[in-house]
């Protein structure tokens, strides 16, 4: 068992202007499940491969426990890339499929059997140990592949988009299995994905990266409740947070008719660079449909209603004078707002509804820096 520490770790590729990973500082606790997430090209896979020893660290260091592994060969790092190989060997028993790497390493037979049996117990595979992989279901085969990594008893598990080549159903199933298994084993795990839902449902903590820079690291709850900047705000959560620019005046944010009371302490942090503007974030689920007279209500014209049974979402546009100045963005793209509405009471297309942000559910960002105020 071990901690993992990135200490100002950077990776530059020759001929590129900015580092693929820029001075990454990240401490992962012993037994923690950390998810690296971000859009393509953000540096998440590169960060993982630096830990695996597959990418050089050009400056800074990486530690596993107290050991500096920056220049250690991959196979000597005591890590396991899970799912690097999950083709099962048809002639070999499930036990041999799980333990063959130990046999290659010269581990004594009884030790192999013991470790395989322990792993099988955790994976619910005990009764299949002496059978051939043919007898297993798709999900069980996945678990055998996990078993291969578990029997090696590495200090750290690394997983690089392990679910990307599974079909949708198996993906959701395996996601839950990996997460619960990791908790039972208590092995420090670093997991890479581009899918924020996967990150939110699996990680103890999530690290969001963009352009090689760590944006924020925290628990799923922290990432959702207090995103530290506009990027994290728009990236975490589904459907994504609505973001819009508002003029600040006298303790209120407003565009046209819309007028929203703001937290005083946030306004106090505005600087001259912000030019009296803020970026306001509000999640689709933080909005409620109210009457026009309600204070803080603003008009939205309904373009489309998406009914999902337990939920319904309105895709619409902020309307009224100067609404275009708000530069609205959301999960539905530019100029679109998403509002969660009562699925038993949905508005019609083309209708104008009034919504307001539930008090305390707004996120205020500096329009100049994008940082949370």
């Amino acid at each position: 068992m071990a901690t993992v520490t990135y200490d100002h770790a950077s990776r530059f590729y020759p001929g590129t202007e900015r580092p693929a990973v820029d001075q990454l500082n990240l401490h992962i606790e012993d037994g923690e499940f950390l998810v690296l997430v971000g859009p393509s090209g953000c540096g998440k896979s590169t960060s993982l491969r630096m830990l695996a020893g597959l990418e050089d660290v050009n400056s800074g260091s990486i530690y596993i426990g107290d050991r500096d592994v920056t220049d250690v060969q991959p196979k000597d790092r005591d890590i396991a890339m899970v799912f690097q190989n999950y083709a099962l060997y048809p002639h070999m028993s499930v036990a041999d499929n799980m333990g063959f790497a130990l046999k290659i390493a010269g581990t004594p037979k009884q030790d192999i059997r013991k470790r395989v049996e322990e792993a099988a117990a955790i994976l619910d595979l005990t009764e299949y140990l002496d059978r051939k992989p043919k007898a297993l279901s798709g999900g069980q085969r996945q678990r055998v592949a996990m078993g291969r990594a578990i029997v090696r008893q590495p200090q750290v598990f690394l997983m690089d988009e392990p679910l990307s080549n599974l079909d949708a159903k198996l993906r959701v199933q395996t996601r839950t299995q990996i997460a619960s298994l990791q908790r039972r084993l208590g092995v420090t795990t670093v997991y890479v994905t581009h899918d924020q839902t996967e990150a939110l449902t699996m990680g103890d903590r999530i690290a969001v990266l963009k352009d090689g820079l760590l944006q924020q690291v925290g628990t799923p709850r922290e990432m959702y409740d207090t995103p530290q900047n506009v990027f994290v705000a728009g990236f975490i959560g589904s459907p994504a947070m609505n973001l819009a620019s508002f003029q600040v005046d006298d303790g209120y944010a407003h565009v046209g008719e819309a007028r929203i009371a703001l937290d005083r302490s946030s306004i106090a942090k505005l600087t001259d660079e912000d030019k009296g503007q803020i970026t306001l974030g509000f999640r689709p689920e933080a909005l409620e449909v109210v009457s026009q007279a309600d204070s803080g209500a603003f008009p939205v014209e309904v373009d489309l209603v998406e009914e999902l049974g337990s939920d319904a979402f309105v895709y619409g546009r902020l309307v009224g004078p100067k609404a275009v100045d708000a530069h609205v963005t959301s999960g539905a793209g530019n100029d679109q707002l998403i509002v969660r509405v009562d699925p038993r009471n949905v508005p019609a297309k083309g209708q104008r509804i009034y919504v307001k942000i539930r008090p305390g559910n707004e996120h205020i960002f500096s329009s100049a820096t994008g940082q949370r105020l």
């Binding site: 597959l54 991959p74 060997y89 048809p90 002639h91 063959f100 790497a101 046999k103 007898a135 080549n165």
Partner: protein, 414 residues
């Protein structure tokens, strides 16, 4: 409304006629040319299409596009690999349920999966020759900056290449192209290759396709050794004194002998000019096959080319034409010896092997019967003997695919 989307460099309209509404695993026998054998993590099927055989793999959409693009780049870099045909997305079944995307590749003619090689009667050193071929392939992909990520015998196809094999990359799903690879990436690939190969061989032992006396760990270790020595020969720096400059030419010749051309060689001398340091910077595989191509237009593999060039040299000496232009002699040899020999093999048997491999085996056979007869057997006589005594009994390897539709895989029966 769902629409099927085909992304391909040269789309074949016949692709549209395949039953895309059915999950690949359930495709009817009449569409299939064969089922793959043994180990694969995805559903794969072989299908005959416009006179060729294609391989279809069901796989996630983004992964499919990525692998398609990677395989295209590998072709451009002249890495021996399967030819990507296209990606098909937007599949739905008759109830409107989404089906997985597929990647389509061309089946490599005359290629042999390693499991097929092990289920034929084989000379005992076959495993070693497969390993050597894989080591050459791994060095070649690493020289181009490709990190494979899952090197194994299963992810490779083999073609006969004179008395050896040459290896082709089949599965690029886990790979990545970089400008250059770090030692960490190369070592990881090699280490994983070793683990996978030993695992695959252990499986063959468990299935009694390989004798249990065979030291499978030693075979895996051989890959590591062959890789390291070839990598070193191709990229290592050496220093010598100014007086030993002949060593530059010797190094280039040694690389040619290994089948590589030197595209760029870095040469530096120290300040007082007493010692010279050289290091190959760009090496290209295919020294002999390029030379044969230039002389005859024949496009064959490296060791086959070496064999044909030797025969060409022998022909030149035998006809006393050492002073003639090499191109002219090569032209006559091609017409009078190579093509004449290949065409004298009955058409139905000729298609069992590639022409260059056929010619190589006839030369081998001639050597064998000449020795036994104690005289120089002429080529036409050797050809006739080879056809009757060898070729007639050989399996057809043009498209050795796996299981016939409907046949169950004995590997997966307990």
């Amino acid at each position: 409304m769902h629409t099927l989307q085909i992304t391909a460099s040269a789309p074949d309209p016949a692709l549209l006629d395949l039953p895309w509404k059915i999950p690949l695993a359930e495709w009817p026998d009449e569409v299939l040319a064969a089922l793959p054998r043994g180990i694969s993590r995805h559903v794969v099927r072989f299908v005959r299409l416009s006179g060729r055989v294609i391989a279809i793999k069901e796989i996630g959409e983004t992964v499919a596009y990525r692998e398609f693009e990677l395989l295209r780049q590998l072709r451009k870099l002249e890495v021996p690999s399967v030819v990507p045909v296209g990606v098909i997305t937007g599949r739905v079944d008759e109830h409107g349920e989404r089906l997985e995307a597929v990647l389509v590749t061309e089946h490599l003619q005359f290629s042999l999966p390693y499991r097929a090689l092990f289920s034929q009667a084989l000379r005992p050193d076959t495993a070693l020759r497969l390993i050597d071929a894989l080591a050459v392939l791994l060095v070649r992909v690493h020289l181009t900056g490709f990190y494979w990520g899952d090197v194994s015998l299963s992810n490779t196809l083999f073609r006969r290449d004179a008395e050896t094999f040459s290896a082709y990359l089949v599965d690029a799903e886990t790979g990545d192209l970089h400008r250059t690879l770090t030692p960490g990436q190369r070592n990881y690939d090699v280490d994983l290759a070793r683990t996978n190969i030993i695992g695959e061989l252990m499986d063959l032992v468990a299935g009694e396709l390989l004798d249990e006396e065979v030291d499978v760990i030693a075979i895996g270790d051989r890959l590591v050794e062959r890789y390291a020595s070839l990598w070193d020969a191709l990229t290592g720096a050496e220093s010598f004194t100014h007086a030993e400059r002949w060593r530059v030419a010797a190094r280039i010749e040694a690389l040619n002998e290994l089948g590589f051309d030197v595209g760029e060689l870095e040469m530096t001398t120290d300040i007082d000019g007493t010692s010279v340091r050289i290091q190959p910077k760009v090496v290209d595989a295919g020294h002999h096959s390029r030379r044969l191509m230039r002389l005859t237009g024949l496009d064959v593999q490296e060791n086959q080319a070496r064999r044909l060039l030797n025969d060409l040299d022998a022909y030149r000496a035998a006809t006393e034409r050492q002073n003639d232009d090499e191109e002219w002699v090569a032209h006559d040899w091609l017409r009078l010896v190579f093509e004449h020999t290949v065409q004298s093999v009955p058409r139905d048997l000729r298609r069992k092997l590639e022409p260059a491999q056929l010619f190589h085996e006839i030369l081998d056979h001639r050597w064998f019967i000449s020795e036994r007869a104690g005289r120089d057997v002429p080529l036409p006589e050797a050809t006739a003997s080879y056809v009757e005594n060898v070729l007639r009994h050989r399996p057809d390897e043009k498209s050795l695919l796996g299981l016939a539709p409907g046949e169950t895989d004995p590997d997966f029966t307990e």
